[in-house]
Amino acid sequence: MAYNLKKELGKPERFHAGHRLCAGCAAGIVCRGMMRALDEKDRAVICNATGCLEVSSFQYPFTAWEDSYIHTAFENASATASGVEAAYRVMKKKGKLPEDSEVKILAIGGDGGTYDIGFQSLSGAFERGHDLTYFCYDNNAYMNTGTQRSSATPRFASATTTPAGTESVGKKQEQKDLTAIMVSHGSPYVAQTTLFGNMKDFHEKAHRAIYTKGPTFVNVLTPCPRGWQYPSEDLLDICKAAIDTCVWPVYEVVEGEYRLTYEPARKLPVEEFMRLQGRFAHCFKPGNEWTIEAAQEYVDRKWEELLSKCS
């Protein structure tokens, strides 16, 4: 059946309003979309790493989650999910759960809980091959503790531990390419996306990831108005700029086969993305023109690499 946003939005909500995420935070949109991607008849267990989402969506005694949910710590969402998945298998085997009911194991964490401190448990879970889907809401820094740099922070972004200053142009290193690393784990389905258009791209990837057997991974660029320093109503403009500049290419890898799922009609210069955000403001100061050139070179190189994998 063809995707229809209006119809999708008509489904019963499974991530409720009243959570404490900031206005303009994309993580809540990711969660609503992730839950909409589940077939209505199926239930889920969500395993959440410590982070903004956890403290905002399950503050005792309120939860925003309609489905079962567990948080244990920061670095172990994948390990916790592995345990839930093992439990699901053994309970099915022993006849402790109804034959006809399907439960999907979903893990979700920010880039801190996924790229960095949670990377070991993520890698372990994918190597073991648990039947689960990991969603990373990548907001490019440790936002819950106040925008410290992570390995997902782009080069030249000013973060609170890599601030721009008279002797600094922000973070020195390029982003870790986690999506590629997850492809290298041999996952049957890995995708990279963000929030744009009618959410079709996100929805289809989330659905395919959830309904592909084995460990699958969806990396979602999730802008943060506080950390990236933009007006909260500009969220979707930021996402669109990220994909049109190819800063965040949108693609999927099915059984190792790369496929671009969005190609900008006209690839925009990277400064069109950077200009919208306060974290790159120093790059536009006289004398720092080279940072934008270097950022462009990096994006061009990564884009060409991706195109060659897609061909």
Partner: protein, 394 residues
């Protein structure tokens, strides 16, 4: 009918696990507990158990997986030692606060600095405040029996706390001794099944577990946890009583050995108690009223009961097989001394830290401790309250 066997402590625990057949075993190897999951892997490979056996990539993840599985509605277990238990530290506290009755078999081993694979309690003692119930055994039989009781204690509705079954690394874990095993069916019947009230995979209602608890709620959660630990004492005794009725072997919070009329006593844990009992017997042969208390349950700490047992002694030596670096005594001493603080008349107490990193503890060494206690009991100066024993001089 009991079955006479010869097994190491590790194989005894693995056997108890096989008989109980937990739903999920998430493991990561470390000496000297590694054999437990190895034996279990063989049971899985031979189709003797239906357990999901998950080879994790670290101890932190192994316990995290146990939490996920237990919250999902399963009995989940793991085994570890030393640095492995330390690496679980963060998750141990989470297990306690989430009230998930995970059971960990711990083959106790020294913590690194320098690296050492032999026995002391620096690993388990470092986790004494993690919210786990801790049972300690003297030999393979007690390791096995403690394990048979573990799940029932941990899962009891009045308790719902995680539990460690501690055995002495190598001394108990690897030494092969005679043991009485129970029939598989009898063990299964005794251990029962895990029937949680609320669980993640419950088809009838969802569950949210592990919230952010602000100041308005955090303290209530912690107090509830502390109350559960207090209630655990009775449950441990009730389960022990049922165990004795079923299998015939008696267990309490601690074992009081020749304490009826003791003037001097040693408070000790684990395999060293066997050695020290031999010293007690020799002293008794000489007419010296020596006794011994072997602490089986360290969490919850049997403070009132210990004070009652020690109140008529004139001098007591607490034997710590871990160094707490407090500069005034190890953890067993701190707890025992504070348990006696409100006695109207209380014994003089000293603390001796011994056996670190597997340093031998002999009957002769135990006798020398009792000799010192004799002196203190007869009015000699108490000497250093906190000292070490068995180390080379100079």
């Amino acid at each position: 009918m009991s079955i006479r066997e010869r097994l190491s402590g590790n194989e005894a625990i693995a056997t108890a696990m096989r008989q109980i057949e937990p739903d999920v075993f998430a493991m990561f190897p470390i000496t000297p507990s590694t054999e437990i999951p190895q034996y279990y892997a063989a049971y899985v490979a031979d189709g003797r158990v239906s357990t999901e056996f998950v080879c994790m990539e670290s101890e932190h993840s192994a316990l995290s997986a146990c939490l996920g599985a237990e919250a999902a509605g399963c009995r989940a277990v793991t085994a570890t030692s030393s640095a492995g238990l330390s690496y679980m530290n963060e998750v141990l506290y989470v297990a306690g606060s989430m009230r998930l009755p995970v059971v960990i078999a711990v083959s106790c081993r020294a913590l690194t600095g320098p690296i050492n694979i032999n026995h002391d309690y620096s690993d388990s003692m470092a986790e004494r405040d993690s919210g786990f119930i801790q049972l300690y055994g003297e030999n393979n039989q007690e390791a096995y029996d403690n394990y048979l009781m573990a799940h029932r204690i941990a899962e009891h509705p009045d308790v719902r706390l995680p539990l460690m079954v501690c055995e002495d690394g190598f001394i108990t874990s690897h030494a092969i001794e005679n043991i009485e095993l129970e029939e598989d069916a009898a063990v299964k019947a005794f251990a029962g099944t895990y029937e949680p009230e609320h669980y993640l995979l419950n088809p009838n209602e969802p569950l949210a577990a592990g919230p952010y608890g602000i100041s308005a709620y955090y303290m209530e959660a912690r107090v509830a946890q502390a109350e559960a630990m207090k209630r655990a004492k009775k449950v441990i005794l009730d389960v022990a009583s049922d165990f004795e009725n079923t299998f015939g072997r008696h267990y309490g919070l601690f074992e009081a050995y020749r304490m009826e009329d003791a003037d001097i006593a040693m408070v000790i844990m684990g395999s060293s108690a066997g050695t020290a009992k031999a010293a007690v017997d020799r002293l008794r042969d000489k007419g010296i009223k020596a006794g011994l208390i072997k602490v089986r349950v360290f969490r919850p700490f049997p403070g009132e009961e210990l004070a009652e047992a020690l109140k008529n002694c004139r001098a007591v030596a607490v034997m710590d097989k871990s160094e707490g670096f407090s500069s005034c005594g190890g953890p067993l001493f701190a707890e025992t001394a504070s348990a006696c603080i409100n006695l109207d008349s209380r014994p003089k107490m000293i603390d001796i830290v011994y056996g670190l990193g597997g340093r031998d503890f002999t009957v002769k060494a135990a006798e020398s401790v009792y000799e010192r206690l004799c002196g203190i009991a007869s009015g000699k100066d108490i000497g250093p309250v906190y000292s070490h024993m068995g180390q080379r001089e100079g």
